[in-house]
Symmetry: C2
């Protein structure tokens, strides 16, 4: 098994034979943490859409729709990108439509992979277990921020890859493992200097960040099946 | 002062206002380590050229010419990319022409920067001192391997950035700092799993790698001036 890490969507085209690989999409702050939470809170599926206009079409059809651009909730949508908004009593049994700046773009870019898996610290061990279960070459795909590398996604890639030290690892993966080993003692503190932390903290969502840094609170994993993210087996 | 790190040439276009920034080009194995060595061994300049054909024109004019493609010495050239080949008694007082797979490409890409500086572990402290002396926003530009991120260049970016913890750092820089902090106790060991190490070790150049991991053996720094790399003040 080979593990590769893509540190920015701008580097995703370097991945060869995508159709034979598992892609773990990583957008820790906050899309993939939020998707993991929505499913854990009982939604039957999350429908990721790249374009705001398509999300609006779903909204017109009566779907519950969430979305942000540049970290701000889209006007007229039911939710933003904060995991706390998707409460169990609202999302249970529903299909939730979600569009975000970086995360949903990466899900769409990965759609032709063998399988797309949604990664977050919230279900880290479950993500590792699922990769082991699938037993295929895997790509840890960091969504970053507007095509730039970001720290939190890279550290999560390192956190996953730590469980695959006996596999073939590319240099991006080794870099993330080293960084995670230095940061894991206090992830929240490590992220305090990051650009995205400062961007979000200025919007008053520090408690979202604290939540997204928590590890193994959720014992399920989302996977993409026919355009919808559902719980994987 | 702001410090940004470019982890792959594919991400270099994200840098804005290049003309106002210092760019440290980093190709630890081996171009920038070799250039630093050539200058320390008394060459009057290193002329970096991107195309093999141009290097051959220099050769025809009587210059000493070094170069590799894919890690192999170009046939008919005086040197490959091993720092040990450029002995003082051969290079002293000479202008040496050099073309390599990744490093010289990045030097050319950076040519419009405020200043281009050649980085290596061999003269780490001198690179830091020179950035401080210039006192401008700076870009740590990792050459990588064929546009892929590599470990040794990223760790060097972290090694430099450690001296600028009080400056504005982008997330790529924070990632490299974390990784360097985990690896610095034994850099050579940290690199043993890297893809480039294995590629070079298979060619029998382990002693080149050991040399390129040595820190602060050289007390000078190369800078690009009118197309030639000379010793900076």
């Amino acid at each position: 098994m080979k593990i590769e890490t893509v540190l920015s969507p701008s580097l995703f085209s370097q991945i060869e034979n995508l159709e034979d690989k598992v892609v773990v999409v990583i957008d820790i702050l906050r899309a993939t943490s939020t998707i993991t939470t929505i499913l854990a809170n009982g939604a039957s599926a999350v429908i990721p859409v790249r374009e705001e206009s398509i999300a609006k079409e779903y909204k017109a059809k009566g779907y519950l729709v969430g979305g942000e651009r540049g970290g701000e909730t889209i006007v007229g949508f039911d939710f933003g990108n904060s995991p706390f908004q998707y409460r169990p009593e609202i999302v249970k049994g529903q299909e939730i439509v979600l569009t975000t700046t970086n995360g949903t773009k990466c899900i769409e870019m990965s759609a032709h992979a063998y399988q797309v898996v949604i990664g977050s610290f919230l279900n880290l061990d479950k993500v590792v277990e699922h990769i082991n279960y699938l037993n295929k070459d895997s790509v840890l795909f960091c969504a970053g921020w507007k095509d730039k590398v970001n720290l939190e996604d890279s550290l999560f890639a390192g956190a996953v890859a730590c469980s695959f030290m006996d596999k073939e690892l590319d240099d991006s993966t080794l870099l993330c493992i080293d960084a995670y080993n230095a940061a894991k003692g206090n992830l929240f503190k490590a992220l305090q200097n990051s650009n995205h932390f400062q961007r979000l903290a200025s919007k008053g969502v520090t408690k979202d960040i604290e939540y997204c840094c928590e590890t193994n609170m959720i014992d399920s994993v989302g996977v993409l099946k026919e355009g919808k993210i559902i719980l994987g087996s």
